[in-house]
Amino acid sequence: MMSNSHLEIIDIKINLGGKRVVDTVSLSLNKGEIGSLLGPTGCGKTSLLRAVAGFEKPDQGRILIRKQEVSGPKEHLSPERRNIGMVFQDLALFPHLTVAGNVGFGIRDREADVIRRRVSQLLEMVNLESYAEMYPHELSGGQQQRVALIRAIAPEPDVLLLDEPFSGQDMERREQLARELREALRQTGVTALLVTHDQMEAFAFSDLMGVMSQGKLLQWDTVYNLYHWPRERYVAEFVGRGVFIQAKVLDEHRLETGLGVITGHMSTSYPENTPVDLLIRPDDVRYDPQGEVKAHVESSAFRGADHLYTLVIKDGFRVVCHVPSHYTFEPGKEISISLDLQHLVVFPSVHN
């Protein structure tokens, strides 16, 4: 593990109600890094987050915050002694306190003057100075969101944990909110771990990202790698769009596919003639009037700036492709495309 890691989770296992919900998960974040755990409902991501917070006691493994063990075989520090901050799914703002009261809750033991300064500094950071004396229910969803965030970071926690903080918001607003939050966090330099089932949120928010499924952390990597170099089929399917086409390994750099031989840097090397599935992302397929590959439009979805076409190449190969909005093709029409694959992400074939 890296020596300057700020949050370290080592081989954590959690059982709940006789079921293993988190299975041997390890990850680490350096100071100031923002990480996301992505996964479907029930994959164990929230339990892992709650274990870091101290609300859940891991059955095995260790959790270190600033190199100090907070959960381990001997130690299980209670949440209030971990110096963490947490933003909750339902935000959990205290209805009986004003915005200022909420933000100052975690530092209310300090001097009145210090509290006042810290609260107004934070409110200013998220442009809520004029809302200090209002009550949470008088604010909009996005404003409540920001109050919940600065309340969590007011005591200057070592690690900030966020449990699906955007799930109560409108779809269209989520990405923007995630970016706003990220900016706010960047300013404070806090280390943060987010849990979400929305990948656009995770992309907008984080440096490092992991995909969890059935209690296991399948891959913990940079956002770029997770999209372009998924190490497991599940990760490839869960993150981003894409299709698999059947292929056969020719050598270290070449695959034979129904679209001809494709050359590129291969994610995993397989022996010659191994049947594999090749991942093709929409951004690997380009609309190209001079392109050699012909495809029929099967269906299209208008998305404003672009169309997302599902194309059928010969022999029933299907790919998806973004095409700028000003090119419009009716279903059934033949168009030319070219494949632009720098990296070949392959997995053992599931067809044979």
Partner: protein
């Protein structure tokens, strides 16, 4: 993800909360248990009771229930419909004023109308004078009759139906009603064929509450000379000193009550289905023509007038005539007794309510939920029955203690439990726990589990969380719980009458005694005090209702 909050404890062992909840429930079930144990005991008077009065009790009770169903049901549904769906002058004001009769205990309205309408009352006196008739020469309906009792109950119990039916009407999708209009139904058909059937579960729930109160009543039927179970139990206990027969009558009454509880539970569960959305819905405003508006106004003013205003005015008139005699030091003793008793009971009942509510929150389990359900059944059990059920075991305990002390120390301790305020507080707790529990649970619901976690993640330990998060948020609900139990105890008559320590009077008991001695005017100060205090929870209730209407979270 809810799972995460439920699993703070992983051990299958029953937690401290479950055990405490179980013990508490067992203790609170003692009265019912005592009655069930005696159910099959031999009693010399039993067969005599069966031969003579049992049938009368059953028939009278059924008549009362039928009458109240029609009376309270009719008034409740009509007023609920009018105030929730139609527009007429004074609607907003009336929609909460219509709750006021809740403040009027049935026995007090009974005394008041008797005073007004009896042979010696002002109305009949005026008739005799105006027409030159003497008693017996004209027909006038007898107030102190089963019909009179039905009217009294209907006038003060309709708010239960009104409240629940109104909530159901408001919750109904307006679209449903509009669809029925487009399908060719006029307003009246829409009302009777769509709105009422949709609200039926709520109406049934309200009615079953009203009927529970009817069965539990002692003061009214006793005063009107209508023999029912409650008066029968009282007579058997104090007249024949036959505890066994009294408990057996109690058991039969419990049987009726149990049927009503089932009815209420069943209909409430069905009522759930209709609230498909939490969104605030604009109330439909059916504009009424002048004539119709006048009829609607009269229909809504009528129950308010006769259920609250007329009797209150009469009480005030009597009180003005008699206060200088009645307001002596003994009256202040009554007030003090009532106040301390009610305040004590309110605080005592809060303890099991807090334990059960917190148990359910910290360690939610089937068992815990079951215990809170079971221990809050007392709201349906008539005070007379609880009194009997409490007296038997504690009386036996007292006797055991006295026997023991006599043998070993050659002295008698006296009635350690059954002769003291202790037994009263216990009975009140059994009867009013559900009121307290409901308020506490409603308050605790506002404190979401994530708020605890949020506070703890910000460095607060459990005690700090309780003090700085829970207490400020639930404080209002705790106060509500205390106030409502306080007022209920203030109004409670039969249990207090039976269980009070020797020479210990309360306002309710005193009003009952004076009325029984035909000193109606003299009883008015005590009665008026009870009514005045009874208005407090009505105001709380109407505020809670209007707040939930605003659609705030």
């Amino acid at each position: 993800m809810q799972i995460a909050y439920r699993s703070l404890r992983k051990l299958p062992l029953p937690s401290g909360w479950t055990v405490t909840g179980a013990v508490m429930t067992l203790i609170l079930l003692v009265p019912i248990g005592a009655i069930c144990i005696y159910l099959f005991a031999p009693s010399e008077n039993w067969s005599h009771l069966v031969d003579t009065v049992l049938l009368e009790y059953v028939v009278n009770s059924l008549w009362l229930m039928l009458g109240v169903t029609l009376g309270a049901g009719g008034i409740g549904v009509t007023t609920a419909w009018l105030t929730s769906m139609c527009r007429f002058p004074g609607r907003d004001l009336l929609s909460w004023l219509l709750l006021l009769p809740l403040a009027m205990p049935a026995y007090i309205i009974a005394y008041t109308y008797t005073g007004m309408l009896d042979v010696s009352g002002p109305l009949q006196g005026w008739i005799r004078e105006a027409f030159g008739l003497s008693y017996g020469q004209y027909w006038f309906p007898e107030v102190r009759s089963i019909g009179g009792a039905i009217i009294m109950f209907s006038l003060v119990l309709y708010p239960y139906v009104y409240m629940l039916a109104r909530a159901a009407f408001i919750g109904q999708s307006i679209c449903v009603l509009e669809v029925s209009r487009t399908l060719g139904c006029n307003r009246w058909v829409s009302f009777s064929k769509v709105a009422v059937p949709l609200a039926r579960p709520a109406i049934v729930a309200g009615l079953s509450l009203a009927l529970m109160e009817t069965l539990a009543d002692f003061g009214t039927v006793q005063y009107f000379g209508v023999s029912t179970f409650t008066t029968g139990i009282y007579r058997t206990w104090f007249g024949m000193f036959d505890a066994v027969a009294a408990t057996q009558l109690s058991a039969i009454l419990l049987f009726f009550v149990f049927g009503l509880i089932m009815l209420e539970r069943w209909s409430r569960r069905r009522a759930h289905f209709h609230h498909t959305t939490n969104r605030y819905q604009r109330l439909p405003d059916i504009p009424l023509t002048r004539g119709a508006a006048a009829v609607a106004l009269i229909a809504c003013v009528f129950p308010l007038l006769f259920g609250f205003i007329v009797p209150t005015v009469q009480l005030i008139i009597w009180a003005l005539q008699t206060w200088n005699v009645m307001l002596d030091h003994r009256f202040f003793d009554l007030v003090w007794h009532s106040f301390t008793l009610a305040a004590g009971a309110a605080v005592v009942a809060l303890i099991p309510a807090l334990v059960l509510a917190y148990g359910n929150r910290i360690n939610p389990s089937r068992a815990m939920r079951f215990f809170s359900r079971l221990s809050s059944m007392g709201y349906a059990i008539p005070g007379t029955v609880i009194a009997v059920g409490v007296l038997i075991p504690f009386g036996a305990l007292d006797n055991m203690i006295n026997d023991f002390s006599k043998i070993h120390y050659d002295m008698t301790v006296g009635l350690f439990f059954s002769g003291t305020v202790f037994i009263l507080l216990f009975a009140y707790t059994v009867r009013f726990l559900s009121v307290s529990l409901q308020s506490v649970e409603a308050g605790l619901d506002k404190v979401r589990p994530s708020m605890d976690d949020a506070a703890r993640s910000m460095g607060s330990n459990r005690t700090t969380v309780l003090r700085h998060v829970h207490l400020p948020i639930i404080k209002g609900s705790l106060l509500t719980a205390i106030v409502i139990v306080f007022v209920d105890v203030m109004k409670e008559l039969p249990a207090t009458l039976i269980l009070r320590p020797f020479d210990f009077n309360t306002l309710a008991v005193r009003a009952y005694e004076l009325a029984s001695d035909e000193r109606l005017a003299d009883s008015s100060t005590a009665a008026l005090a009870i009514v005045a205090i009874g208005i407090i929870p009505v105001i709380l209730l109407s505020r809670a209702i209007s707040r939930s209407r605003a659609g705030a979270r």
